[in-house]
């Protein structure tokens, strides 16, 4: 931090705090209207049947019901806290988009404040110590005949660093010529005092530094650093200082290890159970297209494990948010067909076919729907010619080689039964 600009920082900090307080409405005396209160609550309540949307931003029936309930309770005069408690008592704490202010979740609110206070406190402490050392205490220390060698070494290092800082700030244009010369003169004088107080080799070396430091501003930092290194290597107090440094490092590593262990234990302990389609690690704000792609991937992954009911549920939730998703329609149609066939449900198979037809209407170039329709025509209807038409469209849509290879036996059967040649690109088997 520049010595010349220190008051400016203070002014900036005061302006920032004042702006935040005024902008945050701390000094506002007017109470919000019922509609504004309801809107504020709705903006922090999660839509129960959506992903990462507030009830204010969702038109899902569950969101509409929650909004109606919030408005009703606001009109009845219930407080924001009471309304949130009512919803939490039914949906769990995850219904509130912002973390709770009680229990373990309150750590999210408290931790930044604690860290900020600690950081500010540390900064103030460092500044006070630097200022104190830079003024009367330092002179008194270096003149004392029975001063601790460790303290002398600390003072020496501080002064060499102070000289280096002054050089750097001068070169950066942060110090005027007069200020720079005054600071330099002061620190060099103190280094000289240190040299006279101590008769050790390290002190002599530092005094030498003081005499050479005035030759060139640009050379000074390197010279001082080198000198500090020499002094440290010959200083008898190096042992205790290094030991203290090691102790501090061990303490820091131990604290980090404890924090990591607590985090690992706390995350599974206090996180809620995953619901269908939710990831283990939660979610970040994704764009609608990213969210759609992720939901489709999740559904496909579940379907691949054979959990058709769950996969259908996921595809259904995708369609609730994106009714025109041809991929979701095709996949859900195929799942419905498989479940309908297994349970001999004519209505489900009919529904499946309608979804597949809708998928083709929405995306005629999508290979999956053509493959599924062709398979149904062949396996359910025994219509090999119709299946061959669909499979031709499937091949023409350019499916991935893996999908084409998996579908090849069905395609060969269909074209053989239809008496038609196999399209180019289909493995002959």
């Amino acid at each position: 931090m520049s010595r010349k600009h220190f008051p400016l920082w203070t002014v900036l900090a005061v302006v920032l705090v004042a702006a935040l307080l005024i902008g945050g409405g701390v000094f506002s005396s007017s109470s919000p209207s019922a509609a504004a209160r309801a809107a504020a609550i709705e903006s922090v309540i999660r839509c129960p049947s959506c992903e990462d949307l507030s009830v204010a931003a969702s038109s899902a029936p569950t969101a509409i019901a929650v909004r109606a309930e919030v408005s009703r309770q606001v009109a009845e005069g219930r407080s924001d806290g009471q309304i949130k408690e009512y919803l939490v008592a039914r949906y769990g704490s995850a219904i509130v988009l912002e973390p709770a202010t009680t229990g373990w979740a309150a750590v999210v609110w408290v931790l930044p404040v604690v860290v900020a206070i600690a950081a500010i406190g540390l900064l103030v402490l460092v500044l006070v110590r630097r200022r104190r050392r830079g003024d009367g205490d330092l002179d008194a220390d270096v003149r004392s005949p029975d001063v601790d060698p460790v303290l002398l070494d600390e003072r020496r290092r501080f002064l060499t660093q102070s000289l280096a800082d002054a050089d750097a700030e001068y070169l950066a244009g942060d110090l005027s010529d007069a200020d720079y010369l005054a600071l330099r003169q002061r620190d060099l004088t103190r280094l000289g005092l240190l040299a006279s107080t101590s008769s050790t080799a390290s002190t002599a070396s530092t005094a030498s530094t003081a005499s050479t430091a005035s030759t060139s501003v640009r050379d000074t930092p390197d010279t001082l650093d080198a000198t500090t290194g020499t002094a440290a290597s010959t200083d008898p107090s190096k042992g205790p200082a290094t030991a203290r440094h090691r102790r501090n490092r061990r303490f820091l590593l131990g604290a980090l290890a404890c924090f990591a262990a607590a985090l690992i234990v706390a995350v599974p302990l206090f996180s809620s159970n995953r619901l269908p389609g939710q990831t283990a690690t939660g979610s970040v704000n994704l764009s609608p297209s990213q969210q759609l792609a992720r939901s489709l991937d999740q559904a496909a992954a579940v379907a691949n494990t054979g959990q058709l009911g769950q996969a259908a549920q996921l595809y259904q939730s995708v369609l609730s948010a994106h009714p025109d998703s041809a991929v979701a329609l095709a996949q859900l149609g195929w799942i419905e067909y498989r479940i309908g066939t297994a349970g001999s449900s004519t209505s489900l198979i009919t529904d499946a076919r309608a979804k597949l037809d809708q998928a083709v209407d929405l995306a005629p170039g999508d290979y999956a729907a053509h493959l599924y329709i062709g398979t149904i025509l062949l396996a359910h209807d025994g219509n090999a010619a119709g299946a061959a038409d669909q499979f031709r469209l499937f091949v023409g849509a350019g499916p991935p080689a893996r999908v084409l290879a998996e579908a090849a036996p069905t395609l060969r059967t269909a074209f053989a039964q239809a008496g038609q040649p196999l399209p180019a690109g289909v493995p002959a088997g």
């Binding site: 019901a65 769990g92 995350v267």
Partner: protein
């Protein structure tokens, strides 16, 4: 950092997904919110509190494939317990039209009360997010289980047996 990351991944990845089993709900262990409303046939219905028997409260939709999966199981459960009189079913329509739900229940052969819940109030009272969702309510009126996956008759019987064993 690597150790922390690896530890978190290991712990989170080995957690079983809750989709196929019971999940936590603030309602479990507490008195069940009141169940009253208009059935899909237009009749008023109110469940006594406490109900005196086990009640399976099932939220469903006709468009919901997992609901269609569990439908025959609910019919089986109803058939098995109707004579004994120790448990009964109440269904609630979730995010569906009354006519579609009525038609679906008729096709399924469901003869138990089915509440229309056109404004979603019953879903909100029980914190339902998606169908199928099922609650088991004990004879004393406490919610004893909450399931967010298709149920089976055997699974419901097991839950009732567990509730009885714990004094419900």
């Amino acid at each position: 950092m690597l150790v922390v990351g690896a530890g978190l991944i290991a712990v989170l990845a080995t957690r079983p997904p809750a989709a196929v089993t019971e999940v936590r709900s603030p309602l479990v262990g507490n008195p069940a919110p009141s169940i009253r409303g208009i059935t899909v046939d237009g009749h008023a219905y109110a469940l006594a509190q406490p109900p005196g028997t086990f009640v399976v409260l099932n939220y469903f939709a006709s468009w919901c494939v997992p609901c269609q999966q569990e439908g025959p199981e609910l019919v089986r459960f109803d058939f098995q317990h109707r004579q004994a009189g120790d448990a009964r079913l109440v269904s609630v329509v979730f995010d569906d039209t009354t006519s579609a739900a009525r038609s679906y229940q008729a096709t399924l052969g469901a003869t138990w009360p089915t509440l229309a819940d056109s404004k979603g109030e019953l879903a909100l009272n029980y914190g339902v997010r998606a169908p199928p969702t099922t609650f088991l309510i004990a004879p004393d009126g406490r919610v004893v289980a909450y399931l967010v996956a298709p149920v089976t008759a055997a699974g419901l019987d097991a839950l009732i047996a567990r509730a009885k064993a714990t004094g419900a």
